[in-house]
Amino acid sequence: MSSLLAAASFDVPTIEYGQLSPMLIIFGVAVLSLLVEAFAPRGSRRPIQLVLVFAGLAAAFAAVVMIRGTQHIAAMGSVAVDGPALFMQGAILVLAFIAALVMAERQVDPLGDAFAPRASALPGSTDEIAFTRLGWLQTEVWPLFLFSVGGMLLFPASADLLTMFVALEVVSLPLYIMAGLARRRRLLSQEAALKYFVLGAFSSAFFLYGTALFYGYAGSVDLSAISDALTANAGSMWLVITATGLVSVGLLFKIGAVPFHQWTPDVYQGSPTPVTGFMAACTKIAAFGALLRIMYVALGGIRWDWRPMMYVIAALTMIVGTLFALTQTDMKRMLAYSSIAQAGFMLVGVIATNQAGLSGTMVYLVAYGIATIGAFAIVTLVRDSTGEASHLSQWAGLGRKAPIVASAFALFLLAFAGIPLTSGFTGKFAVFTAGIAGGATPVVIIGLVASAVAAFFYVRVIVLMFFNEPTSDDGVSVVVPSGFTTLAITISVALTLVIGLVPQLILDLANQAGLFIR
């Protein structure tokens, strides 16, 4: 028995704590935040949580800056700490910071904040009414938020499929709960949470099944080992192809690509709006990071096999997202379909499979993320007596009521539309030129046409805000927020302008990030 153990002796694993520090900081803070929920008295929880969250995000960002330039596969081959991973981690942390500012807002809703006083109460029940009347405010969204951010940091840095799966779940599980926390329209919110959970679990199963098949093929779940096996052409090609399809489905679900997009409008609409902004911006970066890593590192060798499939998905995503957005009458649903269309544009960068495609997609993700959080932050401000006034008709004449807020929203919409001199143009141009250089010209042309059509519904909203008379006495007003949301919108506006006018800064950063480490 003892000889058997001796024979099974192994190398002591090593963990590069320094290189993993951004994730360790966030997860550490998340655990602390959980303990605050458990032990701190109710009244003091909010200040402690806010300090923890913002300090934690700032410290993690500082850690990312400190370890910039690292090119190493850490934690025994599980976590790739390389340029693109660090770029995306930095971007997620900055965007999470802005999103957290919007979540921390407590002034726009007269009943408190955006979150339910007790999410487990039956919607419309006497319990719920009682809790609302008591003025209960919960802070449990913060540990959930931090765990999700931690998962997002790990997701694009995962160097093997199992780590990636764990990261996927760590990202998703808190989001499922956060989607159900909305204070207003509880039923819609709970429905969103349940739908997101059921469908998310379904897509995770696809991912896991694909992972298993990859293991069957390559004998490993390491991305580089899969790539090596493909080079050596070992085993059945059908296995790889099926595995590729299944893993792609899992990730395409997360980025909201057609035909795995149907959850997006429902969930975006039902979730508390600050959470929607966070989800739309940060999840997209993390999931695209993971998709790019798999497609570039593990499956780069068989790109001729998966590119036609991606062509179709990208084209469908752009077309369906754009066409459905045209018919929407609800602002949050319109933004949801717009985010689907944007995902299609970003997929062009994935298809390009070249350095420019990688950096272009990353720039696009950042530009889109900032504008998205800003846009959803503004959606929280336009309210009537029942909560957010998200029907498009209620936005008519907003330019008269609140010119500054409407102008900021117009800026974000122009950025979505990719009008030159805004951040969106920088991103679109980067992705589309990479696409043409990568030989995906037909998809790029579809993308250009789709973005031309998309510009129409973005500009339609601008026209609605500035050129239409407000419906008289609809009770819609723009609430003056506290410093939190004001700061979030200001940062978003400033970054959108900077990326549009001086794209150099972000393009350089993305370019220096280089390629994925193998």
Binding site: L5, F10, V12, P13, T14, V31, L34, A38, F39
Partner: protein, 120 residues
């Protein structure tokens, strides 16, 4: 190549056969006496929870207990191999296990403070 998978195949067949047998056998050989108690859902011998029209709520305590069990069960799964290879892992193992246990303890503390361990 194929014989490697043979045990899996056999296991699968056995599993399927057992499932089919368990469902089929009672209906073939068992007595057919139906009454109210027999048609009720099986819930550990206690009276089934009343279900209001339109779907009611199920006490979450059952799930909570089950989940807590899994948390500590998993802890054992990790602790056992650690104990076996304790000396090879040296300081690294000690640190990692400490981190692991502290994390589980934090969750435990949360459950405890939030009343998750109180039955009523």
């Amino acid at each position: 190549m194929g014989e490697v998978y043979l045990p899996i195949l056999v296991l699968g067949i056995l599993g399927a056969a057992f499932a089919v047998f368990s469902v089929a056998a009672p209906s073939i050989i068992g007595p057919r006496r139906y009454n109210r108690a027999r048609l009720d859902a099986y819930e550990c011998g206690i009276d089934p929870t009343p279900q209001p029209i339109g779907g009611g709520r199920f006490p979450i305590k059952y799930y909570l207990t089950a989940m807590l069990f899994i948390v500590f069960d998993i802890e054992i799964v990790f602790l056992y191999p650690f104990a076996v290879a304790f000396d090879q892992l040296r300081l690294f193992g000690l640190i990692e296990m400490a981190v692991f246990i502290v994390t589980v303890l934090a969750v435990y503390a949360y459950v405890w403070r939030r009343g998750g361990l109180e039955w009523d």
